[in-house]
Amino acid sequence: MRYKDRGEVHKDFHAATNMTIDYIVDNFGEDALAMLFRKMATDVYKSIHDKLKKGDASELIEHLKYYLDREKGEYEISENNGTIICEISKCPAVEHIIKSGLTLSPHFCRQTIEVNAGLCEGTPWKTKTELLGCGKCRQVFKLENQQ
């Protein structure tokens, strides 16, 4: 895995992401926000993206598990016949924003939707993120031409 952080976790950075999302939408629009997240996916997460291009989702799965564990999220990941489902029942980022007494941006979950979409751009993978309520979502990655 390209990035593997250790040591303390500074969850207040989720508050900075929350603020930044609103700032970009308010000043540049939702398309600019989507572009930023997609660029993050292809450039920062180049290693995951490159593997997905080859059909290999191993680093994506490792990344999701590693960071959700590190931030004490509640989730289940299943992998079956070219379909990966990551079901989040307690998003640590959403939880931290709410615990901090801050207002959750209505666009907060675009980070997940657009980063996932960016990771799958130009790859044989399709993705869909369904928002299931506060701090809950289902992220599906499906290898094309798989039943």
């Binding site: 390209r2 990035y3 952080d5 040591g7 303390e8 976790v9 500074h10 969850k11 207040d12 950075f13 989720h14 508050a15 900075a16 992401t17 603020m19 930044t20 700032y23 970009i24 540049f28 600019a32 572009m35 930023l36 660029k39 993050m40 450039d43 920062v44 997460y45 180049k46 290693s47 960071y67 959700l68 590190r70 931030e71 999220g73 989040i88 998003c91 640590p92 980022a93 801050l102 980070q111 997940t112 980063v115």
Partner: protein, 161 residues
């Protein structure tokens, strides 16, 4: 979710985007960051002065895994960053670092320090070097003296005055 560990790499993408826009996009954004950060530190800075600043950065030193020495003196606070975790991550990155990355620190903390009537001088050593040395003074004249002393070197100096 972008992991909190990866926020600075997102921050770096935001900086590059804003730097390409017309006007002072980066400075305006850092002011917005500053307003958010007031929630976490302004009250303690105003109430406890240099001690409050020391306590805040000591907490940050631990939580952000900073290799940093803090020295609380009678009339100034010194922050000696031996290895900045933020710039280090931006450099350990498959995306290109923003050339102005280091400026964000003074960009957001400077306005808060100003609100508390303190004066900050920061020597960033170099834009590609994850070390820096900052001083926060109560007396402007001492901050000006420090700035003048540093301006005689080749280093890059930022301040909130």
């Amino acid at each position: 979710m972008i992991p909190s560990d990866h926020f600075v790499r997102f921050y770096n993408e935001v900086f590059k985007f804003l730097d390409k826009q017309s006007g002072d996009g980066l400075s305006k954004y850092w002011l917005a960051v500053s307003k958010l950060q007031e929630n976490f530190c302004l009250e303690n800075f105003q109430k406890d002065g240099l001690r409050g600043m020391y306590d805040y950065w000591n907490h940050i030193r631990i939580e952000e895994n900073c290799d940093m020495t803090l020295k609380l003196n009678e009339d100034f606070l010194e922050l000696i960053m031996h290895k900045c975790p933020s710039l280090s991550k931006v450099q350990d990155n498959d995306a290109e670092p923003c050339a102005k990355y280091c400026e964000h620190c003074v960009g957001w903390i400077g306005p808060i320090i100003s609100k508390c009537n303190y004066y900050m001088v920061c020597d960033i050593h170099g834009r590609n070097v994850p070390t820096c040395h900052s001083w926060i003074f109560f007396e402007k004249i001492k901050a000006e003296q420090k700035k003048a002393e540093l301006n005689n070197s080749d280093n890059t100096i930022f301040s909130n005055f």
